[in-house]
Subunit: 380 residues, 2 copies
Amino acid sequence: MWSNCLLKTLSRRHSTSFRASDLAVHLTHTPKTMPHLDQSLIFGKNTTDHLFWVDWDFEKGWHTPQIVPFQPLVLDPCSSCFHYGTECLEGLKAYKTATGKTLLFRPDLNIQRLRKSARALALPDFDGAELLQCIRKLVDVDKKWVPDKKGYSMYIRPTMIGTHQQLGVTKPGSAKLFVVSALVGPYFPTGFNPVNLYCDETRIRAWPGGVGDKKIGGNYGPGIAYTAEINKLGYQQLLWLVKGNVTEVGTMNFFMLWKNKEGETELITPPLDGTILEGVTRDSILELTREWNEFKVTERAFSIHELTQAAEEGRIIEAFGAGTACIVCPVQKIFFKGVDYEIPMKLGKSGLLTKRLLDHILSIQYGEIEHPWSYKVDYN
Amino acid sequence: MWSNCLLKTLSRRHSTSFRASDLAVHLTHTPKTMPHLDQSLIFGKNTTDHLFWVDWDFEKGWHTPQIVPFQPLVLDPCSSCFHYGTECLEGLKAYKTATGKTLLFRPDLNIQRLRKSARALALPDFDGAELLQCIRKLVDVDKKWVPDKKGYSMYIRPTMIGTHQQLGVTKPGSAKLFVVSALVGPYFPTGFNPVNLYCDETRIRAWPGGVGDKKIGGNYGPGIAYTAEINKLGYQQLLWLVKGNVTEVGTMNFFMLWKNKEGETELITPPLDGTILEGVTRDSILELTREWNEFKVTERAFSIHELTQAAEEGRIIEAFGAGTACIVCPVQKIFFKGVDYEIPMKLGKSGLLTKRLLDHILSIQYGEIEHPWSYKVDYN
């Protein structure tokens, strides 16, 4: 079953791409001390011993890809990534199975999305299968950083930045693709910690005709400042609207299980209309629940008023955010126009479906269930 | 008249700001060779000998501000500026007068806007008057790079980036404010070079409730890719719409001189409604033309249909973009829904007002007219 068949989906060859077969590996002579696997781990702070990088420029195309000791980036202060938001990113994780295998979860989707994001910023394209092989090698080199304790994992952050050294707003003439990794703990170390959402229709994250569906730096910075404001009011995340329709929660996709007006039990999530991120976890939840075939599963635009009306009529069963960092994150309360709408949580700190999805996806990620979404890192 | 009275507008003191009086100046031992002042200068490529920088972190606040030899930035690859678009920028110029004085043009407006942009990204605030004094010192140190040839100038790029070294989407815990400069030539070395605009209502730059009025990196990256597409069709810049209303042209504000429906001669530009940049050149044009009092000057939302109808009825007199790089940039043609609308240009390559504004603003910038907008750099 560990067939690595995902490669097929990435196999379109580029005449101009770096090649994993050219990868130069320079190992560190001063490996870091592994931190303790406990609750003090800060997300993304404990970087591993190595990073991957490859440069591109307009004249030479892609240079030689390299794995090097973890080190700072040295960049001209005129590099376009500092000025014009020419930066895109991904986030995925490596997991250790009970039998000591190292797995990635659907890395093909992250790599496809990185290429889409890069195109939206006029950054160079590459062969996704080659990047996957490079990431595989990076994880293998740093495999001691993939913890053998369920809930812990290695977070992997592929990033591409414009390094063009002139101040004009022009197509980047050079770029750097790099991948850093960090040891991360469970998102909810002491069980679910549900979030309260603040919905403010005057603050807009993304809009039709924009780039809200791309994973690019500019989609995140302004949200940080907004979120800091509502944190002071006791809310953890924003529920983002577009033209009154629910789109995302914080930096996650949004799901709601409810009795719809027809009385059907329905899992509903906003559609991929260009204003929301094409989440890997979102896609996984849709595929799994459609396979289970126990309730209606719908992707369609729905308004905050449909949501608040359903809350008032007691039709909401549960609601949650979905993303790589937490997998699923239960929603406890939604503030809108002066009212806090309570969302039921059958299990106290989450709904039944939220917990079931967490457990099921974790068991795929940690290899307890063999599944085509798992990509095997180990070479033997 | 060189009273430096602009400082007053920046004089609000911060309990936590770096201070120009603490500025440490480390001069280069290897000054660069000045490039020739000719048409081969690429915008922003010929950086000067020094840069200004000052670090901030959550624990210590602002560190000691420094002027140092021009050098690369050395940053952890997990710095938030590479991932979450935590970056904002400004652009202004230093000019040499015929009598050898060095002037800045309305630097107070740029610094106020930088502070606004920083707040929108949860980056730290500072005392604008202190930054102005630091920039003044930087320009003074590099004053050989302010060319004594009209049309040439030193472009100054203040930038602030998040340098926080963890991968969570959180408020930056550290930041760097830096200022780089470069020798630049005239935007139109051989006289005006008018642009053709492509108007595509499906591509949206900014949106009400968003951050289109902030000068932050994320507002630029996606436009680069769109612009590269329309360049292939023979158009230089995009005319951006919001809900059918004209907003910006490329990275400039948009102005049109027309006979309005009431038969009045009117200079019209979109209002500061949060979707357009609060341009320093825009503000200067509005103030100057209102002072001239020769035609109606209006800031109001107007639609692309009003514009195309006026073009069809022969009521457009001229149109231009406005920004620091070019001051004004004549518009020759606007493509919308399959039609190229020709914009008149009385002087062949521009309209009369466009040329008059260019000449007038240049004569203020180069000190031929004494004006309160000029800020004197020289200490004696």
